[in-house]
């Protein structure tokens, strides 16, 4: 039996208040309670990055995070990225998605990188995505997509 708490956070730019079990995984809170199913569960152990979200701007795995740890934080999920984020277009054009399970996490990881380093080297992209596993693409097209998105001027897809 756990006692619920009133959780207040900013979720995708909107203030949110909900009553939750503080020991609920953030991944479950998002997917099951809040209907935000973009974040995926791959491993559930921090190894694959399919559940990646941005916590106060930093990429973290939502499968390793507890709801109570979100108190007063700003959380951004894949649903919170603008629809014209150049990464979406770039992933589609490069064929960087096959089954798609890894894609939300890959895009979130890439967004976290580009927000910090608008023109990263291929090596830096590789490092930033090293915690995101893909069983389908072989990664080359994903790296291509991130490079292409980084080339889009002023952060807008052409």
């Amino acid at each position: 039996m756990s006692t619920d708490i009133t959780l207040r956070l900013t979720l995708n730019g909107q203030p949110v208040e909900c009553v939750v079990d503080p020991t609920r995984r953030v991944l479950d809170l998002l997917r099951e309670d809040l209907g935000l199913t973009g974040s995926k569960e791959g491993c559930g152990e921090g190894e694959c990055g399919a559940c990646a979200v941005l916590l106060d701007g930093a990429m973290v795995n939502s499968c390793l995070l507890l709801a109570g740890q979100l108190q007063d934080a700003a959380l951004r999920t894949i649903e919170g990225l603008p629809t014209d984020d150049p990464l979406f277009e770039a992933f589609a054009r490069a064929g960087a998605t096959q089954c798609g399970i890894c894609t939300p996490g890959m895009v979130v990881a890439a967004r976290a990188l580009l927000d910090r380093e608008p023109a990263p080297s291929r090596e830096r992209i590789r490092e930033a995505l090293a915690g995101n596993l893909c069983r389908c693409t072989g990664y080359v097209r994903i790296l291509d997509a991130v490079e292409a998105a980084a080339r889009v001027p002023s952060g807008r897809a052409s």
Partner: protein, 283 residues
């Protein structure tokens, strides 16, 4: 634990956290980044313990440097350490090991205090802390104490921290003049591979002689540990004149590496020898 006892605490003040620890001790588990705990709970059938979230306590986070030392708050994440200019300049091995503590997403959550308190013999930052001669600041409701990190781990996954204590900070003295440092982690792949062997070395020189040596190892025994016999063998010597047999013999005095799922003892011993040769500029 009594029925109905509180299951989740998220204090903003350290004093409040210590008071909770004082009244409930081991019944309440501190959680920092949660990167070790969440995985452990997933693998376990036991119910989750009552939790003390350290994440809102500002006093436990941050880096404070003075001419003699740096003091790092226990909940400072590895990504902060890796990116901090003071750490990169003054304690570069810590910037390196922090940048190898899992993927970016892990480094953003993984704290230095959690890495130390999780007490895995394979953790990446402990060898570096040992080589720099770190001291841990422990606090309880009844006071604070500062202990040498080299005596902190007493056995596999065991430490001298009491159930009512929290790690509040990790202190690293500034290395002496004419000190060189050397760090390598040998694993299977760069991102989030658990180390097979890791060595952090701090060597103080006088001309071609090493006058003070500290070798911190991971994954050679049940705890991260300093190689005392090896340091003793090296101190006072010109490494170029040390024969390989003497180094290997000293390492054998310090460690009996084991076979496990990640590697064999014989392989680990050979890697340790190669790493020491690298640190001494002999490789």
């Amino acid at each position: 634990m009594s029925a109905g006892a509180q299951r989740w605490y998220r204090p903003r003040e350290l004093a409040e956290a210590l008071a909770i620890k004082a009244s409930r001790g081991a019944d309440v588990q501190p959680i920092a980044g949660g990167t070790d705990l969440m995985v452990a709970w997933r693998l376990s059938t036991a119910p989750m313990p009552a939790l003390l979230d350290l994440g809102a306590i500002g006093e436990l986070r941050g880096i404070c440097e003075d001419p003699d030392r740096v003091v790092i708050g226990a909940t400072t994440p590895c990504s902060t350490l890796a990116a901090d200019a003071r750490i990169q300049r003054g304690w570069p091995m810590l910037a390196q090991s922090a940048a190898l503590t899992g993927s970016v997403a892990i480094q953003n959550r993984a704290t230095l205090g959690g890495n130390v308190m999780n007490a895995s013999p394979a953790a990446d930052n402990p060898p570096v802390l040992l080589a720099y001669g770190a001291r841990l600041h422990l606090a309880s409701a009844s006071g604070r104490r500062v202990v040498d990190y080299s005596g902190f781990h007493t056995g596999y996954r065991q430490t001298i921290a009491r159930p009512d204590e929290l790690v509040v900070a990790i202190e690293l003295p500034r290395p002496a003049e004419a000190t060189t440092v050397w760090y390598r982690k040998v694993g299977t792949r760069r991102a989030q591979a658990i180390s097979k062997v890791a060595l952090a070395a701090c060597l103080q020189w006088q001309g071609s002689r090493v006058i003070r040596a500290r070798f911190g190892f991971a994954s050679l025994g049940p705890v991260p540990a300093l190689a005392g016999a090896l340091a003793h063998r090296v101190e006072g010597c010109d490494p170029g004149r040390l024969d390989a047999g003497a180094l290997a013999q000293a390492i054998d005095e310090d460690f009996r590496p084991i076979d496990d799922v990640r590697s064999t003892g014989a392989y680990r011993r050979q890697v340790a020898i190669n790493l020491v040769r690298g640190a001494l500029g002999l490789a």
